[in-house]
Amino acid sequence: MTTLDAAAPGHGHGHGHSAHAEAHGHEHDHHVCGVPTFVGILLILFVLTVLTVGVSHFDFGRFNMWIAMAIAAVKASLVISVFMHVLWDTTINRIFFLSSFLFLGLFFLFAFADLLARGDLVKAHARPAPLDASDISEWGPGTKEHKFFEQFKNREKNGKAKGH
């Protein structure tokens, strides 16, 4: 284990270090993993990738998504904890990084509180007539959107023309 030497005395003044506990309290040797740890983690990640591909061939109905996300979460936590050294990092770094997933979860939670309970998007209620692109006055002839909608309208013809 190599150690970063203690801070060379500051040039102007030599007395007490600045008292940021977390920077100076513990000793300075940052953890260095052994090669076997890394190789082990890599193999586990490969195995999990094969697992997630294998599992996708079976249909578990609603649980498909949960299984896929669970496997991905395990892989992610391996990468985070070992490759990114979060296990041996200061608590502040750990708190900040893991709390970002918390705030992302809040975004999911409330966006889906709106979507799932909305009633008309998920269960196909009466939907108004499909929108007509020519109602958008900005998409008059000569604009790229106008060309695209012409293409989109007679795409069956294009499809057959390409012989697929």
Binding site: G16, H17, F96, F110, D114, L131, E138, W139
Partner: protein, 560 residues
């Protein structure tokens, strides 16, 4: 960069070089890494954006002096501009004021200047990132001005789709400038979090830091966690316009309400990025000018963090009528009231600080007192808007316009002026005229209320927002509000006037004119030297301990 020459130690105290007059070459400003100079550069840029935004506000108010529409025939009459031009002006007013003035104003100018001083640090933790943040702000501002002149964006600062997708205006370029300004804000926030964690003075635990540092720290959390979502929103809007990927465009099956979720997930924390630093300045100014320790230090500190956290779960109250599900409305309305509580607690704490203090009505205190009055009104009207039933009637009317001007212009800008007047002697070593400052504060206070109280009443009567032509019965309110706006503009002109006059002719300011106990006033010269402190200050006492200040005042009175 010039190395610290050994000779600096021998200069006599009088003509010792401070951070302003040590080097006046262009590169020493343009390439500076000194947090104080970056703070000043931000200050000039931010004031420019404020004045330009204010100009657009005046154009809008003057147009609305007499711009009616006849209900029966639908024919419009009066008004200075075409409706299209009016839409561009209120959009520019929104974009300039929100993205270029109010979000960077307090953290990037006053925060950059004062935070390291208050922490007893030589500089912010990542000085180069600090300079990059300023240049990103500059690039964003130039891009926004360019897209304003070339593309006349008229979508409002909210860029709601699908209108922002269809309109043939330079929305992509404006989006790019907002993206760049977002990164500038992230870098400032990131810098302050690292500085507060790593560069505090010895002995300065978390509860011995001034409350301004707490507030700017909570703001930095919001800047770092919320701004990226604005980045992805603007990115997707750009792809939407260029490649029509259809995520927000109903023509391709997209959902405009999803855009509103994306936009407000950032923009509600953004309104707390605006108000939290103002609350930080309030805690400083109220305590210093009552010469009394702040009341409930921990309560204020924790309520700053509480606001930062809760602000992530209330964004739906901007979208009550937008077609969300009833469950989402229930949750958002319920949680909105919890975010209102910490603000109310802070207001009570400030008033409790002033209670039985020793109040001196200097200029910063005048602006702080008008903050307290205006923020109370802004907060209480926020409770009305948070109530689901009332918001259905009041949403997108002038009631909302008046509410957010009360908490943005009235509170954040007023606190920004208070902070400006509080740190002005420390920044420039000169003192502004107290007489003109009092007049400026009064005219701004009266002009502000004269502008926005009629808008409250007009809004609850049903006057919709962003209308170039209104039905005639609202004309009286609009005219009263325009008179108020002109008064407010004169007040701001007076303020800018006497502040600039103090730069060129003001009398010198020395030592600690306000008697403030925090490190930035007690341990640094006025204006401070480049390294801020001759030797590293050690913090042994509570942040708001006035015993020394009172003894000095007693000495002065005895020998005077």
């Amino acid at each position: 960069m010039t190395a610290i020459s050994a000779t600096s130690v021998h200069e006599t105290h009088a003509e010792r070089k401070n951070y302003l007059n040590r080097d006046s070459s262009f590169m020493s400003w343009a390439g500076t890494l000194d947090h104080k100079r970056i703070g000043l550069m931000y200050l000039t840029g931010v004031m420019f954006a404020f004045l330009v935004g204010g100009l657009f506000a005046l154009l809008v108010r003057l147009h609305l002096w007499d711009a009616t529409v006849d209900v029966a025939t639908g024919v419009k009459s009066g008004g200075l501009f075409e409706p299209g031009k009016y839409n561009q002006y209120f959009t520019m007013h929104g974009v300039f004021m929100v993205f270029m003035f109010i979000i960077p104003a307090i953290p990037a100018s006053l925060g950059n200047f004062a935070l390291p001083l208050m922490l007893g640090a030589k500089d912010v933790a990542l000085p180069r990132l600090n300079l990059a943040s300023f240049y990103l702000w500059l690039a964003g501002t130039i891009m926004a001005i360019a897209s304003m002149l070339l593309g006349q964006v008229d979508t409002g600062w909210t860029f709601y789709t699908p209108y922002s997708i269809y309109t043939q205006k330079a929305v992509v370029m404006m989006g790019l400038s907002v993206f760049v300004l977002g990164f500038s804000s992230i870098f400032t926030g990131l810098n302050f979090i690292v500085t507060t964690h790593k560069l505090r003075a010895p002995g300065q635990g978390w509860f011995r830091m001034p409350l301004f540092v707490w507030a700017v720290y909570a703001t930095a959390l919001l800047q770092v966690v919320a701004t990226p979502v604005l980045g992805v929103t603007v990115l997707l809007l750009g792809f939407e316009r260029l490649y029509h990927i259809g995520i927000f465009d109903p023509q391709f099956g997209g959902d405009p309400v999803l855009f509103q979720h994306f936009f407000w997930f950032y923009s509600h924390p953004a309104v707390y990025i605006m108000i939290l630093p103002a609350m930080g300045i309030m805690s400083e100014v109220v305590s210093v000018f009552s010469r009394k320790p702040i009341f409930g230090y921990r309560l204020i500190a924790f309520s700053s963090l509480a606001i930062a956290i809760i602000s992530f779960i209330v964004w739906g109250h901007h979208m009550f009528t937008s077609g969300q599900s009833e469950l989402a409305l229930f949750l958002f309305s319920f949680l909105t009231f919890f975010v209102a509580l910490p603000s109310a607690i802070k207001e009570f704490n400030w008033v409790a600080t002033i209670w039985k203090g020793s109040i001196s009505l200097e200029a910063p205190m005048l602006y702080a007192l008008s903050f307290l009055v205006i923020f109370a009104i802004g907060g209480l009207t926020g409770v009305i808007l948070g109530t689901l039933n009332l918001d259905i009637h009041l949403h997108d009317t002038y009631f909302v316009v008046a509410h957010f001007h009360y908490v943005m212009m009235g509170s954040t800008a007023m606190a920004f002026f208070a902070g400006l007047h509080y740190w002005w002697p420390k920044m420039f070593g000169v003192m502004y005229s107290r007489f003109w400052a009092t007049i400026g504060a009064l005219v701004i206070f009266i002009g502000f209320n004269a502008t926005f109280i009629p808008q409250f009443v007009m809004g609850s009567m049903g006057m919709p927002r962003r209308y170039a032509h209104y039905v005639p019965e609202f004309q009286g309110y609009h005219q009263a509000s325009t008179i108020g706006a002109l008064l407010l503009a004169t007040g701001i002109a007076i303020m800018v006037g006497y502040l600039l006059a103090s730069l060129f002719g003001g009398k010198k300011a020395e030592g600690n004119p306000w008697g403030s106990p925090t490190l930035d006033w007690t341990h640094t010269s006025t204006p401070p030297v480049l390294e801020n402190f001759d030797d590293q200050p050690i913090v042994e006492r509570e942040p708001y301990d006035y015993t020394l200040i009172l003894e000095e005042a007693k000495q002065r009175v005895q020998n005077a």
